[in-house]
């Protein structure tokens, strides 16, 4: 009986934790998968800032280029200007949070804080740089 009660409490506790951490993607994905699903729309599959939204003509669509150039994540010169906190703030709050273009939208309600930290680490791999 005590065993059953213990198991019940553990189950209730687990559900509570899941409910508390339920924000963001509800399934485990790697930073690379998140990058490919979300970020590539503008930053491109190779992270050079040449995604279809930035340069529609590259994919054969006759629309003008984006008014701003998405960050080239493979450039150590550009990425070294940023701290990890700068990057996390830019992902979470969008361009507006770091005095950059609002064309970069806020992802703080889409991704969890842990996913944003993982993405930041992934960007450091892409630029092969450590930042400020």
């Amino acid at each position: 009986m005590i065993m059953i009660r213990k198991m019940f409490l553990i189950a209730v506790f687990s559900v509570g934790i899941l409910a508390f951490t339920g924000k963001g993607t509800a399934f485990a994905v790697s930073a690379e998968e998140n990058y490919k699903f979300y970020c590539t729309q503008c930053h491109g599959m190779d992270g050079k800032g040449e995604g279809a939204n930035a340069k529609p003509k590259v994919v054969g669509i006759d629309l003008p280029e984006m008014s701003v150039t998405p960050r080239n994540h493979t450039s150590p010169e550009d990425m070294n200007k940023l701290t990890d906190i700068d990057i996390e703030n830019a992902i979470s709050g969008g361009g507006a949070a770091v005095s950059k273009s609002t064309i970069m939208p806020p992802w703080g309600k889409t991704l969890t804080e842990a996913e944003i930290k993982d993405l930041t680490a992934y960007l450091r791999k892409l630029c092969k740089c450590k930042g400020k």
């Binding site: 590539t40 729309q41 503008c42 599959m45 939204n53 529609p56 994919v59 669509i61 629309l63 984006m66």
Partner: protein, 222 residues
């Protein structure tokens, strides 16, 4: 008015109601039959609620879900589009690298209108009818183009030119296609309609009044 005239009037009124309801029912039933016979369900989900949980679930889908089509689309547009389909998302469904060159099957105008009648019956209770005023407004334009950067992924008319991104649906004539109430509901409860999608969640970033204003602006683009 004498009794016989009242009787005649009632009879003709009943007949009119009967004919209208009967012919509408035929059209709806025919539309459902056409949808089934053309195998539209092999790409378009007509049963809600949304069941996708992972990127993989979304990537497996071949076309947009239609289980809330009646809440989302304007009927006249639907009938015209099904007879003469053109790309709505300029990139291929689920792709961020390939242009949409797919030829969606076209129906005859009669079939298209019947399928439109059927699809308009598929509604979602989460879409509040009459919540949004569809009108071009400077606040909505500012939100779309500047404050929230929607233009980064969605194209729109800017004077004679079309500008904007291509990974979201083309919104340059969204007002012909989309109901403002649905755009608002989609911003407010995105997971109901598309639990896994490339658009960020704006809940508690854009407030309720702004969502309505923005939705009204989008649904006025023609």
């Amino acid at each position: 008015m004498n009794v016989s005239k009242v009787g005649q009037l009632m009879a003709s009124l009943s007949l009119t109601v009967f004919v209208v309801v009967f012919s509408w029912n035929i059209s709806y039933a025919d539309g459902k039959g056409i949808f089934a016979s053309k195998n539209c369900g092999s790409c378009h989900q007509i049963q809600g609620p949304a069941a996708e949980k992972t990127f993989e679930d979304q990537q497996k889908k071949k076309g947009p879900e239609l289980w809330y089509a009646g809440s989302k689309f304007k009927k006249e547009w639907l009938g015209e589009w099904l007879a003469n389909p053109t790309a709505i998302r300029l990139l291929k469904y689920n792709s961020v690298t390939e242009k949409n060159t797919e030829k969606h099957p076209a129906l005859s105008k009669k079939e298209a209108d019947e399928v439109a009648d059927y699809l308009m019956m598929l509604t979602a209770k989460e879409v509040p009818v009459g919540a949004v005023t569809e009108a071009v407004n400077p606040q909505g334009k500012n939100m779309f183009q500047k404050k929230y950067g929607c233009v980064g992924c969605h194209s729109i008319k800017a004077g004679a030119q079309k500008v904007g991104g291509v990974s979201g649906p083309d919104l340059s004539d969204a007002g012909k296609r989309l109901k403002g109430d649905w755009v608002y509901a989609y911003l407010k409860e995105p997971k109901v309609f598309k639990p896994v999608k490339r658009m960020p969640i704006f809940v508690s970033i854009i407030n309720d009044n702004e969502m309505k204003t923005l939705a009204g602006f989008v649904a006025a683009q023609k």
